[in-house]
């Protein structure tokens, strides 16, 4: 037991070491941590309500009181952006968790059972992957009706196939392994084998792919919001804020610019982290 444990730490050490070496990854981690921290503690330091209308103070430029200025009904943009961070990051992670969970279940079933089930599922996956992501998400969100919940469903549907494919590949390798074969010899039912043996062993690549996907998902939510297909005003969603702020771009530049900047910083931070993880795990792309 003891030996096993220490050999495991030795094996995982280089990964830690490489991740520590990669400065850009740390820039990403720090930016993301700051955004998360501020969005959590925003009620403690901001005296403003994200939704309270204050027409007297509309379109105030950035100042010591309103750091990022105010919008067309006098709401504090800085406060709204931080509440928006809760929404964007929360929804982004939620969508990926749902998509990955559904993907791994369907994918392992497809890969383990094989045959006609596998063929049907994979044709369906090919079909969804034959679309540009954004366009399919747009079409689905539009037909479901424009609101945040439907936008989430649309993005999840677009994201699931990647996880199905990944989990299926893993399941196909695993089903030839001795421990699975012996479980089959004992007559354990297929569902139980999938739950007990296939899923736990197929999960790590899925989790890695999921971390890489969060940044892109946040962009998709904001894009749908920007096009009027996601969260609706007055929800402080970044895409929706930029969409309204756009109208005032040339007169009140701060309105669309700051939400856009935070969107860019969050997805940039997530991509830096993803890039770092990929570098560590894939020796081919190492610097």
């Amino acid at each position: 037991m003891q030996i096993n444990y220490s050999s495991k730490t030795l094996k995982s050490n280089p990964i830690w070491y490489k991740l520590k070496q990669n400065k850009m990854t740390w820039v990403g981690i720090i930016i993301l941590a700051l955004i998360v921290l501020f969005s959590v503690i925003v009620p403690l330091f901001s005296p403003f309500d994200p939704n309270k209308i204050d027409l007297v103070n509309k379109f105030q430029p950035p100042s010591s009181q309103h750091w990022f200025g105010t919008d067309e009904v006098g709401r504090d943009i800085f406060t709204r952006i931080l509440y928006g961070a809760r929404l964007s990051l929360g929804v982004g992670i939620l969508i990926i968790v749902i998509a990955a969970a559904i993907g791994i279940v369907i994918g392992t079933i497809s890969g383990y059972i094989g045959g006609i089930v596998d063929t049907i599922i994979m044709r369906f996956v090919d079909m969804i992957l034959a679309f540009p992501n954004l366009i399919l998400a747009m079409a689905l969100a539009a037909v479901l009706g424009p609101n945040l919940q439907n936008a989430m469903i649309a993005i999840a549907i677009v994201k699931i196939p990647v996880y199905i494919r990944l989990a299926r590949g893993e399941a196909m390798l695993l089903k030839e392994k001795l421990f699975v074969k012996s479980a089959e010899t004992f007559g354990i039912n297929k569902g139980l084998i999938i739950i007990k043996h296939i899923i736990p062993n197929a999960i790590s690549p899925v989790i890695i792919q999921a971390t890489l996907d969060v940044g892109d998902t946040i962009l998709l939510i904001a894009t749908l919001g920007f096009l009027g297909l996601g969260a609706q005003p007055p929800t402080p969603e970044w895409g929706a804020m930029i969409s309204i702020g756009w109208t005032y771009l040339l007169t009140y530049w701060w309105y669309p610019v700051f939400p856009g900047l935070f969107l860019f910083l969050s997805s940039g931070a997530l991509n830096l982290i993803g890039d770092g993880i990929r570098d560590v795990l894939d020796p081919k792309s190492a610097r």
Partner: protein, 334 residues
């Protein structure tokens, strides 16, 4: 090769069937009623009924679907609820604008992306390499509506150098319609005024649209250049005294481009997605703007027509990419 082409063309049929099936049925579970959107809030029930009848909305969903599929086979994508014109005609009208923008963006991405990638690979870990890394990470992280906003604010708002809206200045007549591409048409007709104005209008949207793909291509070229440069045949070539441009272009780049071609195919797909947003923010009268305008009218024929055309285009582009891939890579020739 032939087998692959036939298979892929089959995939198009399958994709069109699948997407119509999914979107069509999904579109009928939503609560919105297109008839009341056309007739307005105060329309009487009889008016609404007659509109529904006219659009076939009063029939069961599956009958509506079969009608739609039947029409689709004859190239009829239905009538746009918003404009009351055939969707296919609308899309054909807007098609050249989208393609002109996409090709311009694509050209920028390739022309800048390949040299930048080579530079980053040859000067690995230098300041250039790090700059190219920051540049590409921001390229894939920046939404087009934010980069668009910044360039409009600077080049239109502050400096006043470039226009931010439309394909050509309002007081200039578009060139005579030959191909529908303003740049080509104004060259063909020798209309220099129109050429200058349409080029000016093209610069900002094309730059904004190209950025994400530029980033992806730079990254891929860098990675495959690094891999190729470490291979033995390159070492042999260097040992034989081959160096400089000849080594990089004829020896290394040729092989490094093979994986890049695949990435370029995928890049074109996301370019089409990005075009929807880019057209919306720059008031570019293409298919993307048309479809975004249709969304608020619950104009399903327009949205589905657009989705179908784009998905066919996407599968075709990937087919072309795979053919090029096969031609570039001798191992694939069997």
């Amino acid at each position: 090769m032939i087998q692959m082409i036939v298979k892929r063309l089959g995939l198009i049929l399958f994709v069109v069937f699948g997407v119509t099936l999914v979107t069509f049925f999904m579109s009928h579970v939503i609560p919105g009623d297109p008839a009341s959107l056309i007739a307005g809030q105060r329309a009487s029930e009889e008016t609404l009924q007659s509109i529904r009848q006219q659009l076939g909305l009063d029939q069961p969903v599956w009958i509506q679907y079969f009608h739609y599929l039947g029409d689709l086979l004859t190239g009829d994508l239905g009538t746009s609820i918003r404009t009351q014109r055939p969707v296919l005609d609308e899309l054909i009208t807007f098609f050249p604008a989208t393609i002109e923008l996409a090709i311009a963006a694509f050209a920028i991405a390739i022309v800048l992306g390949i040299p930048l990638g080579i530079l980053a690979a040859l000067k690995k870990n230098s300041i250039w390499d790090n700059l190219s890394r920051v540049f590409s990470i921001s390229g894939v992280s920046i939404p087009v509506f934010f980069s668009g906003l910044i360039v409009i604010l600077i080049f239109y708002g502050k400096l006043g150098w470039l226009p931010s809206n439309g394909r050509i200045a309002l007081d200039i007549n578009p060139p005579t319609h030959i191909t529908g591409f303003y740049i080509l048409d104004s060259i063909f007709t020798g209309d220099m005024v129109a050429l200058k104005s349409s080029l000016q209008h093209l610069i900002l949207p094309a730059l904004v649209l190209s950025y994400a793909q530029l980033a992806v291509i730079t990254r891929q070229v860098r990675a495959s250049m690094l891999e190729v440069m470490s291979q033995e045949y390159i070492r042999t070539a260097v040992a034989n005294g081959i160096k400089g441009r000849l080594l990089i272009i004829s020896y290394a780049l040729k092989n490094a481009l093979i994986p890049t071609v695949t990435v370029i195919g995928v890049a074109f797909g996301s370019l089409l997605g990005g075009a929807v947003v880019t057209e919306t923010i720059f008031g570019w009268p293409g298919m993307g703007k048309f479809v975004v305008d249709s969304i608020s009218y619950l104009d399903f024929p327009a949205m589905m027509g657009f989705t179908i055309i784009i998905s066919i285009g996407y599968v075709l582009i990937n087919l072309i990419v795979d053919i090029i891939y096969g031609l570039l890579n001798p191992q694939m020739k069997q």
